[in-house]
């Protein structure tokens, strides 16, 4: 088991497994959000179902563990790679035409993390967390929170920027995870790269639907505020 910690391919294996699980979670979460666009009642039913029930809490803990591992290992890899590169950089720069996202996974990751903190404060803290500590202010029906949040222009913009960073992270991340696990070859590289862009785009658009829909709705109703 030590190879998972002390070999480069072991560390990469953890990155790809945790990354893939996070992608699967995002797909699930996205479907949930899309429900809200069509029916607030159905959405609130899901929120009720995923409140502070034992299975929802266990799943949340598992998810937090995966995210923590991904961030921890991402940081470890980035630091190790910096020192493997050496202290002396190239004066003529690096002009190899690699994809921008591939070289900026950590910066994109940090940006995603920042968005995640804001997101958890916006929703999770007021819903599941408040319910867990038995706060009387706990919100069970999420739809109200969402509609209120996206009537504030700043939050619509923050969420869209956040999704943009996520999109970049995933255009590289998805095919990279396959490559790390060894499921790639000359024919499949192009296909996987295409699949990567499609998955990233589906996730980004799927999540953007709620902020855009409710943002535009509040704008049309004349109740949009700046923040």
């Amino acid at each position: 088991m030590y190879w998972l910690f002390n070999s480069s391919l072991g560390r990469k294996f953890i990155m790809s497994i945790t990354g893939t699980c996070l992608v699967l979670f995002l797909l699930f979460h996205m479907c949930m959000n899309l429900v809200l666009v069509f029916s607030t009642e159905a959405y609130d039913m899901i929120c009720e179902f995923l409140g502070a029930n034992w299975y929802a809490v266990v799943a949340t803990l598992g998810l937090a563990g995966l995210a923590a591992l991904h961030i921890l290992y991402g940081t470890l890899l980035t630091l190790q790679n910096k020192s493997a590169r050496g202290s002396q950089g190239y004066s003529s720069g690096n002009k190899t035409k690699t994809e921008w996202s591939a070289k900026n996974m950590y910066v994109l990751g940090l940006f995603i993390l920042l968005g995640l903190v804001i997101h958890l404060c916006n929703f999770w803290y007021k819903m599941q967390f408040a319910e867990l500590i038995g706060s009387p202010d706990a919100v069970a029906a999420g739809s109200g929170l969402v509609i209120e949040l996206f009537s504030k222009a700043v939050y619509v913009v923050i969420y869209l920027l956040w999704l943009f960073a996520l999109w970049f992270h995933l255009t590289h991340g998805v095919w990279s995870a396959f490559q790390t696990l060894g499921w790639n070859n000359k024919t499949w590289y192009r296909r996987l790269h295409g699949i990567s862009c499609i998955v990233a785009t589906i996730i980004a658009i799927g999540f953007a639907a709620a902020p855009i829909y409710f943002g535009v709705e509040s704008l049309l109703n004349g109740i949009m505020t700046l923040y």
């Binding site: 480069s8 493997a84 050496g86 190239y90 004066s91 002009k95 190899t96 690699t98 490559q179």
Partner: protein
Amino acid sequence: MDKDINIKVRVWRQQGPKAKGHFETYKLENISGGTSFLEMLDILNEQLIREKQEPVVFDNDCREGICGMCSLYINGHPHGPDNLITTCQLHIRHFKDGETITVEPWRSAAFPVVRDLMVDRHAFDKIIQAGGYINVNTGGVPDANAIPISKLDADEAMDAASCIGCGACVAACKNGSAMLFVSAKVSQLALLPQGKIEAKARAKAMVKRMDELGFGNCTNTRACELECPKGVSISNIARLNRSFLGAKLSD
């Protein structure tokens, strides 16, 4: 006919492994477009010797793209701006009249600078010593078709075997990773019947040595395959990942 051009070369000068280095700019006049990059450096060195200065130290041997010695980082690319060639195959016609050409050594913690543009690439030899061979004598060249090997495998093994160990992959990689080199050296053997038997142990031993020597973790940026003078593909890295993970999970 290629035109003669005047150029400036901005070269990294460093007295020894521990010394502090710096850039020095030299002027060269009337260099013909057909001059190879290394011949240009020869001309520079003759000029320096005439002026009673120390010549620039750089690695080279075959000067025909097969030995992998000519490790120069030129204008932002390992082996210069042209694709699929080594520095010795690069010609001055790729540069403009009056251009300043920056020449640096490979930069990677595992490849320390020996002097000027020469780096120590022993780390690659150490990786090969960890298992990049077949342990028994497999005899002479077998009769054609005595051992059936699919065309696909034969081609892939041949492509992997074209790696000349130049280190451009490490030099180009923002992570200082040697995965393209190691995966090529693992694949050239693992794809053929003689090398298949030890494939798992070889993959584990070579990756272990690679990690110990301080090379970075591959994050699939593809800089290596874009700069490799032999066009070695990252599909070899996928193959190495596959056999390494397979070996570890079946342990």
